[in-house]
Structure formats: C-alpha cells, structure tokens
C-alpha cells in the first residue's frame, strides 16, 4: 500500500525525478575517477501522501535543490530514494524496517513529523543507522538516549519559552490563549508554554486543542478565546489551521489581537487562508529566509523560480542535511563515523551556521522574528527579549 502510493507520487513529479536522475548521471560521466567510488546512498523518509503530504513535497523539493548544488560542487556522487511514512507513526516504523532491512542505504534523512521520528528511531538505533533529522522538534527526539541522530530545528521546549517570552516581553501581552494541534508536537509545545508563561508572570486564559488535518471549524474556539479576554493568540499548529483560525476569527469580528507562532506557519498559504487577518502576526522561525547571506538568497530565489513557492523549513533543512552529509563524506567520513563527525563540525548552510551538542541538538541558534506586512512575509530584525527565562534554565 505504502509503496503503491509512493509510486503514484513519483509519477506526478516524474519530470522532476528525471531531472534529478540525469543530474546524477552527468556527475558520474564527468568524473570517471570518482564514479568508481560507491555513491552516497540516502534514504529520505517523509510524508509523501496523507495529511502532511505538503511537507513531504517540500522535503522532496529541498532534496532536488540540494542535488543541483552537490552536482555543482563535485565530490562523491549522491543517490537518494524517497520512503513515504504517510505522516503516521505506524507507517514510519515499517519504513524504518524496510530501510534497515534492505541494507541499501548509508544514512537516513528524516522523518518530518516528531511522532514519526519517535516511532522509527528505536529501529534505526538497533542498526546504528545514522539519522539526520530536519524538522522534528519534540524534545524526546534527542532526550531518549539515541546516539545515532542529529537534528537541525530548535527543540520545542526551548521554542515554547521563546514564543512566550516574545509575547510577554516584546509585545507586552499578559493574557495568552493557546491553540494547539492535539499531537506529540502541539501538546509538547503547549505544556512547555504554560510553564514558561507562569515563569514570566503571564496567564494562559484559554487553551484549545484540535485534531490536526481533520478539524476545520474554529468558530467556537474563537468565541471561547474572545470570551476569556485573550490579548495574544499563541498558534502551536501548522499553516493550514493557523490561517483558517485567523480567517474565521476575522469573520466573527475578532481582529487585531497579537498573534505569535512557530515557523510551521511560514507558508504563503498561511497568509492566503487567513484572508487578510495574518497581517501583523509574528512568526519565530528556526531559520531566517531573509538572512543577509548569498547562500540563502541564491537558494530562495532558485526555489521561487522552480516552484513559485517560499521554501518551507522542511525544504531548507532537508537541503542542508544532504549537503552536510555530502561534505563530510567527501572529507572522508564513513557512515559509522558520520554522527560523531557532524557533532564535531561547524556547518554553514542555507539556514545559517549550525553546530551541535553531544545529544545531537543544535547549539546557539536563535529564532528569526518574521512578520506579515502588506500581505507578504518580511523580516523584522527583532530579537526575542529573554528577560525572566533564566528561572527555567
């Protein structure tokens, strides 16, 4: 079933695949010496079908963009296959089993959803398969004692403190209403946010969970938040629900309330679905799409030309992970030494500079504060005011 649907996904993007295939072939032809060395074989695990399929699409596009850059850079050839975890933990475990059983892959890039990564990790850990994870932010991903994983995104327990601090310290709002996706990701963020709000002297006056990808009606939640006198909406969810929530709030006459959310909102669809109500809302992003660097600018404009879309965090991190793996393998890493080598390195990617701690989390990375201005995302250049967060550390 999963393989079947995955093949369908391939057909739809057949042209893209052909392009990548010929790029890899060109690399091989141009460098006969290197072609003799075995290529780096990556298993990309992402939700290609199902409710999170748009994230899978972004992972695929990020990988395609990375392949172009890898081809231009030279070095060992890279091949990759996509495994569809459908965004479901059960499928993720079965994907992990297939990847490890086949023995055809040097490393895994993925999964995307925290719940999928958590379900698949025990299997990868048994096989000591290196896992390079982009977007799973649940703290358990690196707190479960697995030594074969590194990740790019900022952990959600740290993130929750930052979102709360931004609302309280930067915006001066003391009454928060939390909208959260009722899954590992959203609940994890919500729990930490309540603790942080308490430490900062703010109050969570209302909170509402919803079933991600199923609930589309937020009108009763809007009434609840309004009735509780919320001064700030904290959106712990993806762009779809975030956008729909704001749009439905607007049509119920609830407008102009400060809104703070994570970079899972950083999609053009968020602005579109909110129908004007996203204006002035703040997004704290684990990477800065408007960073003043040539690498970032080139990636953003290339992506926009190819797909007429803003690359999401998933696309940026997938691309950076491909390039990171390629760079280290070119420098002599082996699959067995890769995770250790990554933790010892400093990497300059599209998403900025990364280095990692012993658990595999990124160190010293801060959020970029992005807002919506005139119907477009724009950088504010602001930094989160961390006053009062010391108590939590």
């Amino acid at each position: 079933m999963a393989m079947m649907t995955q093949k369908n996904g391939f057909t739809r993007r057949g042209a893209l695949r052909l392009g990548m295939g010929s790029a890899a072939a060109a690399t091989l032809a141009a460098r006969p010496m290197l072609a003799q060395a075995a290529p780096l074989r990556i298993a990309l695990a992402a939700p290609m079908t199902g409710d999170s399929a748009s994230m899978g699409l972004n992972a695929q596009r990020g990988a395609a963009a990375a392949m172009k850059l890898i081809e231009a850079a030279g070095g060992p050839a890279v091949t990759f296959d996509i495994f569809d975890d459908m965004g479901q933990p059960r499928e993720a475990a079965s994907v992990a089993r297939r990847i490890t059983d086949s023995g055809d892959y040097d490393l895994v890039v993925g999964h995307v959803n925290s719940s999928c990564t958590l379900a698949a990790m025990p299997i990868y850990a048994d096989y000591e398969m290196p896992v390079l994870c982009g977007s799973s932010s649940n703290s358990q991903v690196t707190e479960s004692g697995w030594e074969n994983i590194v990740r790019m995104t900022i952990r959600d327990d740290y993130g929750a403190q930052q979102y709360s601090a931004f609302a309280v310290n930067n915006l001066g709002k003391k009454k928060m209403a939390i909208l959260f996706a009722n899954d590992d990701y959203g609940r994890g963020l919500r729990d930490k946010m309540v603790i942080a709000a308490d430490a900062l002297g703010a109050e969570v006056v209302a909170e509402a969970g919803f079933t991600p990808n199923l609930d589309k009606d937020f009108s009763s939640i809007v009434s609840q938040f309004k009735n509780a006198g919320a001064e700030a909406f904290m959106l712990n969810c993806n762009y779809t629900e975030g956008g729909l929530f704001l749009g439905q709030a607007k049509s119920a006459g609830v407008e102009g309330i400060a809104t703070v959310g994570p970079d899972s909102l950083l999609y053009n669809e968020y602005i579109e679905l909110a129908q004007g109500a996203a204006e002035g809302s703040y997004i704290l992003a684990a990477y800065d799409p408007y960073a003043d660097s040539d690498t970032t600018r080139a990636f953003m404009s290339g992506f926009r030309e190819a797909y007429d879309a803003l690359p999401s965090q998933v696309a940026v991190f997938t691309s950076d992970l491909f390039i990171l793996a390629h760079q280290l393998m070119a420098a002599g890493s082996t699959p067995a030494s890769l995770i250790g080598d990554i933790k010892a390195t400093e990497f300059q990617g599209v998403g900025g500079t990364y280095h990692w701690d012993a658990k595999g989390d990124v160190k010293d990375r801060t959020f970029a504060v992005i807002t919506v201005k005139d119907g477009k995302f724009a950088s504010t250049g602001a930094a989160v005011d961390e006053t009062g967060l010391d108590a939590l550390r």
Binding site: T5, N8, R12, T49, G50, D51, A53, S54, L57, N182, A208, G209, F210, T211, N213, L214, D215, K216, D217, S219, S220, I221, S223, Q224, N227, T240, G243, L244, G247, Q248, K250, S251, A252, G253, E269, E272, L273, Q275
Partner: protein, 291 residues
C-alpha cells in the same frame, strides 16, 4: 450570556452545513436503502471543480452551477461503474465498491490538485452582523437559509411530484415498479444525479464557510454528514436537517464544556446514546428490514 448565544449561532451554522451534506445521503438512502459512501468524495471533487472554474475567471453563479452539474455527472458515473453492476448483490458489496470509488476519486483529485489545502474565495460577504448584541457572521445566516430552502425543496420534490412518487415506488419494490412501467434505471440514475448536485451545493458552502477546499474534505463530509443523517433518522429529510443542526450544537457544547480536543468524542458519544434509545434516529420511521 452573549457568549452562549454566540456559541449557539456557531453551532447552528456548522450544523446547517452538515445538514446540507447529509441531505445527499438521505436522498439516496430513502430511495435505494443504500449508504452512499462515495458521496463525500463526489462533492469534494465538485468543490475543487468550482474552485478551478472560479480561478479561470468564470462568474460565481454559472461557475457554481457548472460545478453542481459536474457533481451530478460524477455521481452518475459512480452509479454506473460502482453500483449498477452490484445492485442485486448482498448489501455489503455496493457499500465496499462505493468506498473504493471514493478512494479512487480522492487519489485522482490529489493527482490533479495536490495535497495542499486551498483557500476558497468568499462569494457571500463575510461581515459581522449584530443582532441584539450578539455578533453573528452574515455568512452563517445565509447558509442556514439556503440549507432550509434546499431541505424543503427536496422534501417537496420527493413527496409531491410525479418523479418523486415514481422514486418512492422504486424504493418500495424495485421489481414491481419495473413491471408497472416505471423506468427504474432512469429513476435511480436521476436520484444519484440530484444527490450529487445538491451535495456539491453543500460542499461549496462548506468551502466558503471554512475558507478551505482539501482532499480530506471527502472523508470529513462522509463521517460528519453520515453521523448527522443517522442521528436524525437516515432516509428522512427533516431528520437530516435536525440531525445536522443537533450535531453542530453537540460539537459546540463539547468545545465549551469538555474542551475542543474532545469535540468528536463527545458528539459521537451523544449519537451513540440517541441510537441506543431510538435505533431509527430521532425522526426516522421504524421500517421492516428488506433483505
């Protein structure tokens, strides 16, 4: 107090959308005694067609009319391919083939339009209307009105027109109706077509109210509308209407009391309770099971 009235109006708005979609189920069920599990997917495709036509620059009224016609055509196609060949089999068989047809429609729609949620243009002005201190959305009032009109029209059509009476004959006994000279195949196809047409009208309102068109809409519409139809008494039009409204209100009440994460759990528990006490639903007439 205002808060409760506001939540009441939210519940009624969502409920009338469920009611409209449940109407399509009840229509097919009342004639064929068959749960049309493909219905939700047919109307999802219809909503995407409406969006595509609107984006192509076709004015709203003809675009929605054409999308409704497309829904009718697709429903006729489903009837021809997935139902007619198995009409005389065990009742489980058409149910399974309907689910299959639904999955094919969902996969096809994802190939064409992709997995993302698409925004739907706001065709009905979406302004807050204040009535006696309570803020209601103009859209939810209009949706309630449209839903009432369509339920009344469908009821009139089935009980008062020649076509409707012929359809009821088909319902009572297919073979005898055929012997009496009623064009059975034509009637059945027409019932599906009307179900698809009305369903897409409901789906477009759904898309406008939630401001979203998406693939899973098919499944969502199937589960919610089916639950509403069961609650009201499947096969009855007024039952579909009240079932929808009650489901909407139950969901809103669940959000207010137990928290939004328990919305579906609480509302479905209410339905189970109702069906335990009244197995035919609130408005369904008890009827002998036909084999």
């Amino acid at each position: 107090m205002d808060y409760y009235l506001e939540q009441l109006s939210n519940g009624i708005a969502v409920g009338s959308i469920y009611a409209l979609i449940a109407l399509g189920y009840s229509l097919v069920y009342s004639i064929l005694n068959l749960i049309n599990f493909a219905h939700g997917y047919v109307i999802m495709v219809g909503a995407f067609v409406a969006l595509a036509l609107l984006q192509a620059g076709i004015p709203a009224v003809p675009a929605i009319f054409l999308a409704c016609c497309a829904g009718a055509l697709i429903a006729m196609g489903v009837e021809r391919i997935a139902y007619r060949p198995v009409r005389h089999s065990n009742r489980i068989v058409p149910m399974i083939s309907a689910l299959g047809a639904g999955l094919v429609l969902a996969a096809g729609a994802q190939l064409i339009w992709g997995p993302e949620v698409h925004a739907f243009p706001q065709l009905i002005p979406r302004v807050p209307v204040e009535i006696g201190g309570v803020t209601l959305s103009s859209q939810s009032l209009i949706i309630l009105a449209i839903s009432l009109v369509l339920v009344a029209a469908a009821s009139w059509f089935l009980h008062r027109t020649r076509f409707g009476i012929a359809a009821q004959c088909v319902c009572q006994d297919l073979a005898t109706a055929q012997l009496m000279g009623i064009p059975v195949n034509l009637i059945i196809v027409a019932v599906y077509a009307i179900g698809g047409f009305l369903g897409v009208a409901g789906a477009v309102l759904f898309a406008m109210y939630f401001n979203a068109v998406f693939i899973q809409m098919g499944l969502l519409a199937t589960t919610k509308a089916w639950a509403a139809a069961m609650l009201g008494g499947i096969g009855s039009f007024s039952g579909a209407f009240w079932g929808g409204i009650l489901l909407g209100l139950a969901e809103t009440a669940a959000v207010m009391t137990a928290g939004s994460a328990y919305r579906d759990g609480v509302s479905l528990a209410i339905i189970v309770l109702v069906l335990l006490l009244k197995p035919n639903g609130l408005f369904g007439a008890p009827s002998a099971e036909r084999s």
